[in-house]
Each structure stands twice: as C-alpha cells, then as structure tokens.
C-alpha cells in the first residue's frame, strides 16, 4: 500500500547515456513533483505536473524532461547524462492544502 513509489532505487550509469526514473502515486493526488537532493543534502524542486500540464520548471537543463502518461505517474527522463547529475532524485505528490508526500528516492551515480 505504498503511497509514492519510485524505480529504480539505485541507478549507476556512464556519462552520455540516457536514463529514466519512474514514479507512481496511489493517493489520488492532483499534482506530482520531482526534486533533486545534492551531495550537501540540499533539496530543490525541478518540475511539477498538474493534470498533465507542466506548471513549474525551475532552471533545469532541457536534458531533463518529465513525462506523465496519466494522473498517477510522473516519470523523469534524462538525456546525455553528466557527472554533475549525480544526486538523489525524489518524486512527490500533493493534494491542495494537504502538503506533499515523498517517494523513497532514486540515487543516481554517473561515472
């Protein structure tokens, strides 16, 4: 009965590769998000999706693209991976006035 789930939990890949991280929520929430946590534990929002519409896009390289096949899923695609992309990526979801709930995170290591 996991609320927000992500796969994979760990992802190790070479520079230049393209990879995807999947996220699913079974809470019936309207909005889903992707956050990046760097090596200093600082968390920063990357994207949010509401009803298949991108409503936030912070200063994120266009190599990163969110894809939402339906309301319960928001996948993160990353092209041409770079060393600096190594981080922990968290998916989250929310319903208005109830706060955000986070997935377990995906640790991405780019070699």
């Amino acid at each position: 009965d996991t609320a927000v789930s992500q796969t994979p939990k760990y992802l190790v890949t070479q520079m230049g590769n393209d990879k995807s991280i999947k996220c699913e929520q079974n809470l019936g929430h309207d909005t889903m998000y992707w956050y990046k946590q760097d090596s200093k534990k600082f968390l920063k929002i990357m994207f949010s999706y509401n009803n298949k519409e991108l409503i936030i896009n912070e200063t994120v390289p266009n190599r990163f693209s969110p894809k939402s096949p339906d309301k319960a899923h928001l996948n993160l695609h990353i092209n041409s991976l770079e060393l600096g992309d190594s981080a922990v990526y968290f998916c989250a979801s929310s319903q208005r006035d109830r706060g955000q709930f986070f997935g377990p995170g995906t640790r991405l290591t780019v070699l």
Binding site: T31, K40, I45, S48, Q100, P104
Partner: protein, 111 residues
Amino acid sequence: GIQVEQSPPDLILQEGANSTLRCNFSDSVNNLQWFHQNPWGQLINLFYIPSGTKQNGRLSATTVATERYSLLYISSSQTTDSGVYFCAVEWYGGSQGNLIFGKGTKLSVKP
C-alpha cells in the same frame, strides 16, 4: 526570492532529552511543512502546518505566520529520532506548490 533558515544546523542529544528546532522565513508563505529524513534517506512528512499548533505523539509544531517562524518540538528523544529535519515553505510570491527547503537540522540522539 524567499529565504528559509533553520537552526541549529547540528544538534546532539542524549536519549530522553527534549529539543526545539527553529525555522525562520523571510516572506509570507501559503504553506509550511516539516520533514524528517532518516539515516536511510527516506523523507517522512511530519507536519503540514501553515499556521497554529499540531501534535503527533512526542512531536509537536507551532507556526506563527505573522512573525515568520515555525518551531518543531521533540520530547523524550529516542535514537530513532536521529536524522535531518527539514522545514519547507510554499512562498506566497512563488509558483503554486513550489516548496522551498531550508538546509536542515542534523539531529543525533545518543543512547
């Protein structure tokens, strides 16, 4: 943009002690949340508290929005309370749903 400052940055407690963590923010906010990131990296939603006081077991939180601060109280601390505590706000002047995180308070509870 809004600044979110947490104090103290580090805190070491003996099991059974009480503590208060503080979060100051520089502008009006729509929402405020407290999270606990455990040693396994999981982000746990503690409180959704844009104003007022809430309690959940040994933890309680108070937000005074007019004075731009929130407090998280931990009573009778246990070793399982160890980890990083984050305050995050949804800035009134920012994009809806965009959570801005503080740098966290790292708590270590010794047996």
